[in-house]
Amino acid sequence: MVSIEGVKFQYDAAGPVLSFPDFSCAQGDRMLLLGNSGAGKTTLLHLLCGLLTPTSGALTVGSKSLHTSTDRELDRWRGTEVGVIFQQSHFVQSLTVRENLALPHQLTTGRVPTDLESKMDDMLDRLGIGHRAGARPHELSVGEQQRASIARALLHKPKVVFADEPTSALDDESAAAVMDILDREAADATLVVVTHDQRLKDRYASCVTLNPQRP
């Protein structure tokens, strides 16, 4: 589950205090965090991933109380229980797609399980990029990169998946296809989509609107 309560955040002491509405989402549910530019969507996403620490308030994601966890605990938690799909697909450019997909396992456990490769091949095939497994990230098209990014976020079966603007640069048909993939592949996980894309507002029953933050 994902739950936030009374969360405020301030980038620096002289800066504005950002406030976020309370909400919660049960395990396995889907939720949309909708907001325009400047609403603090990315800040909230980073708070939910434990990349930022709230100034006040409580954040719980899965079994983890983020506001009371140490950095070391959060590092490990991100590698095992969380999958993040970024707006722009980031990859380690010197590694192949296949190796990029295996990287979270390596970073978290120090090794790549022997059965991971077959799972990886199955997932890449389902996403239609099985033939690109040996390619370098820069050799992929933007669409292929996005699907590889989804595969990487979901391969280790995370309990919670965060997707940041997964459809922002796509036409209607492609956007629907990406969301279908996300729903299908993250069927057992809690899925939180952060977006300004109004086309998605009716997709899920649970939707929280983030209002522009005023200084």
Partner: protein
């Protein structure tokens, strides 16, 4: 699938071939130069030490003392002239002198010196026979191992000598030398000499039917072993009014290596400068890596990577560069040694062979790798303070 930190570091280095090659080349060149100097110093010092071997003084014609030593101990220079055998024998009989080994030469065969001497010379260097016997009759010769290998001469073969120490044009066709023995390799100057009796040297230069007054016989030098340390001070005084001098091999070699030392010190400084540049290159390479790959590093943090993981990754990259450059440098110095050896062999008939690492080289390699790691450690420290959220937002 192997995706350990070393594999990742190696892939990252491969992804920037030019930068990696520059860092490797700079370090390899610096380490290679220092290593080559250590190897040549060791080889040259060993060769000098081996051949001095209890020769306390060299008696020869007046001239450059260093030339006297180089010509008569190492056989890599022309002699300063000839001296009277009778006068030389008087010096040997001096109470402060224990023994003397006469040397007479002036001819060669295919660039290898034909040296007239007695069995004292062979015993001094501990040379042993591989085949045949020691020279006995006039014009019998016993070959050093390297001479036999290079010229292909074998027992029973005959040859003419040529006047001079390397020249092949003025050949003495009136006298024929016969090979009666071949020596085992000894690792000393004897390996590159053709040994015979002094009488052979005199006879090859005598005109047919010429009667020679024994008191006018000359030799090139006398290798002396002292009985009393005062010989070093006393003997030169006794030679003041003669055409002879004595030189001390230990002092002359020391003076020469000191002169070489100035040159090698300059070269060593240049090598150190190149190594310093290579460390700066590794420092910049790691720093540039962090700047160019900060999004990748931030991404790795979101996938479970700890600050320590990223720090280690960058440290291993620097370590691979410094270890690779050091290893390449050591290989490079061996290749240069092979090239140098063939030149020295051709010019002076001395072999330089040094493939085993020296203790000094191990210290050099350890220091190079350690400094390379330190050069990476400083910039890699930035990853410990990486602001993941801010970095991801910059993308």
């Amino acid at each position: 699938m192997k995706l350990g930190v070393t594999t990742q570091a190696w892939r990252n280095l491969q992804a920037k071939p030019l930068q990696t090659a520059l860092s490797l080349a700079l370090l390899a060149f610096g380490v290679g130069m220092v290593s080559l100097m250590l190897l040549t110093e060791k080889q040259v010092n060993d060769a000098f030490e081996r051949n001095i071997k209890d020769i306390d003084l060299v008696l020869g014609a007046k001239g450059s003392p260093l030339q006297l030593i180089l010509a008569n101990v190492y056989h890599i220079d022309a002699p300063t002239g000839n001296i009277s055998l009778e006068a030389a024998q008087k010096v040997v009989k001096h109470p402060y002198i224990a023994s003397g080994i006469p040397l007479a030469y002036g001819d060669n065969h295919e660039g290898y010196r034909i040296v007239g001497t007695d069995m004292g010379y062979v015993e001094h260097y501990g040379a042993e026979l591989a085949d045949g016997v020691w020279w006995d009759e006039t014009f019998d010769v016993t070959l050093g191992a390297k001479v036999a290998e290079a010229t292909g001469l074998a027992l029973g073969d005959t040859f003419f000598s040529a006047h001079g120490l390397t020249d092949q044009t003025d050949i003495h066709t009136n006298r024929t030398f016969t090979v009666v023995g071949v020596m085992e390799p000894s690792g000393t100057v004897v390996d590159q000499l053709i040994l015979t009796s002094i009488q052979s040297i005199w006879d090859v230069h005598a005109h047919d039917g010429e009667e020679v007054d024994p008191s006018t016989r000359e030799i090139t030098a006398m290798l002396l072993k002292k009985r009393n340390p005062l010989a070093v001070l006393t003997i030169p005084n006794t030679l003041r009014d003669t055409n002879m001098q004595v030189a001390l091999p230990a002092i002359e070699v020391n003076r020469m290596t000191q002169q070489f030392g100035l040159g090698t010190a300059a070269l060593r400084s240049i090598a150190m400068l190149i190594m310093a540049l290579s460390f700066a290159s590794i420092f910049i390479s790691v720093l540039d890596n962090i700047r160019a790959r900060r999004h990748e590093l931030a991404l790795m943090r979101t996938m479970g990577g700890t600050p320590r993981t990223l720090y280690t990754l960058l440290l291993v990259e620097g370590g691979l560069l410094s270890a690779g450059g050091t290893l390449l440098g050591l290989v490079l110095s061996r290749v240069a040694m092979v090239v140098l050896s063939s030149f020295v062999e051709q010019q002076f008939h001395y072999s330089l062979s040094a493939m085993m690492p020296l203790p000094g080289e191990l210290a050099l390699a350890t220091a190079a790798i350690a400094v390379g790691l330190v050069a990476s450690a400083f910039p890699a420290g930035r990853t410990l303070r990486l602001d993941i959220s801010k970095t991801l937002c910059e993308a």
